[in-house]
Amino acid sequence: MNCKGLIYEISAYLDGELAQETLTEIEVHLKRCKDCQLIVDTTRKTIQIYYSAQPLPLPDDVRERLHTALIKRLGRRPNP
């Protein structure tokens, strides 16, 4: 496993989808390659930060328009 090979497998590695043999090759490479350690670490953080981000509250005007449209089509005011 070299750096290029690791980049191709980084997504599957972080998703836990690799076969044991490839996983071992990656871990051996990571032990001796500082750059790849940083790339794996920062890619993992990229995913985790987006994964943890909570959606902001719907803007009031957007929510009002959405619920008005639903009332009109469904015939009843949705719960506030």
């Binding site: 290029k4 980049i7 191709y8 980084i10 997504s11 599957a12 590695y13 972080l14 998703d15 836990g16 989808e17 690799l18 076969a19 044991q20 996983l23 750059d35 940083l38 790339i39 670490d41 920062t42 890619t43 993992r44 953080k45 990229t46 995913i47 985790q48 930060i49 987006y50 994964y51 943890s52 981000a53 959606p55 902001l56 509250p57 719907l58 957007v62 929510r63 328009r65 959405l66 619920h67 449209a69 639903l70 089509r73 469904l74 015939g75 009843r76 949705p78 719960n79």
Partner: protein, 269 residues
């Protein structure tokens, strides 16, 4: 008589084990994963019945990375199925609850795909309306949330294609190897996101996603923001599983590059 005693002991052992594991796992989720106590308890309740069986059988050979990324989804609550059943029978209050529950996520999804507020609003409205109108077609083979996301994706992509017809094919081949080579390799420190206030962080994350090409953006948003599986993402977009994986790899690496300038640790002058 012996079998009765054995059975009772089995029940007591099971209850004690579940009680202890529930306490321990809830504490870990709250302490290390920033879940609320309620979220953590719900996750535990779902997980532990299955874990009891796993605890009394030999572990399978591990085939994954040491830190699997995906935690159990926190989006879908246990009562979703009951709400959908009520809504199917015409209970509008139950459908209202589903709207209130998912409107923020569906609007964010539509914004992420269309990058246009007016289109995102329209897509959100139509997604909810169509989901209600076609609720009878929902078979319950998948989660309602996944089904709703699929409708919202179609609504959002339709509007994106209308506005930008030349750049929104999801079938186009991915680029050459060069787009995979990382250019910025810096240390971000343990918790780079904590250097920003939540609104500022949201702004950074949104602008980085907005810069991605639609074919990468859409796959990344479905997989890593809306927490769909690879197969669900492929199904929602009408593309193959290998295509999802290829686009996800490129999307993740490009976002990493874009976030680098915000999150790299500043070296002392």
């Amino acid at each position: 008589m012996d079998s009765l005693i054995t059975g009772c002991l089995g029940i007591v052992a099971r209850r004690s084990w579940l009680h202890w594991r529930r306490f321990e796992t809830t504490a870990k989720l709250v302490r290390y994963q920033d879940f609320s106590v309620i979220q953590a308890e719900t996750i535990c309740a779902n997980l532990l019945e299955g874990a009891w069986c796993a605890a009394i059988t030999p572990p399978a050979k591990r085939m994954s990375s040491p830190e699997p990324k995906h935690l159990p989804s926190t989006i879908v609550r246990e009562d979703e199925g009951a709400l959908v059943s009520l809504a199917k029978s015409g209970d509008l209050a139950a459908f209202d609850e589903l709207v209130n529950r998912y409107e923020r996520r569906i609007f964010r999804l539509a914004m992420n795909i269309t990058q246009n507020r007016e289109d995102a609003e329209d897509a959100t409205q139509d997604a909810f309306l169509k989901s209600f109108q076609h609720l009878g077609d929902f078979q319950g083979g998948s989660r309602f949330y996944t089904w709703l996301v699929r409708i919202a994706v179609n609504e959002a992509l339709m509007r994106l294609r209308r506005r930008r017809p030349n750049v929104t094919s999801l079938d186009e081949p991915v680029q050459t190897e060069e787009d995979l080579i990382p250019r910025e390799i810096e240390d971000w420190g343990p918790t780079p996101e904590q250097r920003y206030q939540s609104t500022e962080l949201n702004s950074i994350l949104n602008s980085a996603i907005a810069d991605l090409e639609p074919i990468f953006r859409t796959v990344f948003v479905l997989r890593d923001v809306e927490q769909l599986s690879t197969e669900e993402t492929a199904d929602a977009l009408g593309i193959s599983v290998p295509a999802v994986k290829s686009r996800l790899l490129r999307g993740r690496l490009r976002l990493r590059e874009k976030l680098n300038r915000f999150f790299e640790q500043r070296k002392p002058a």
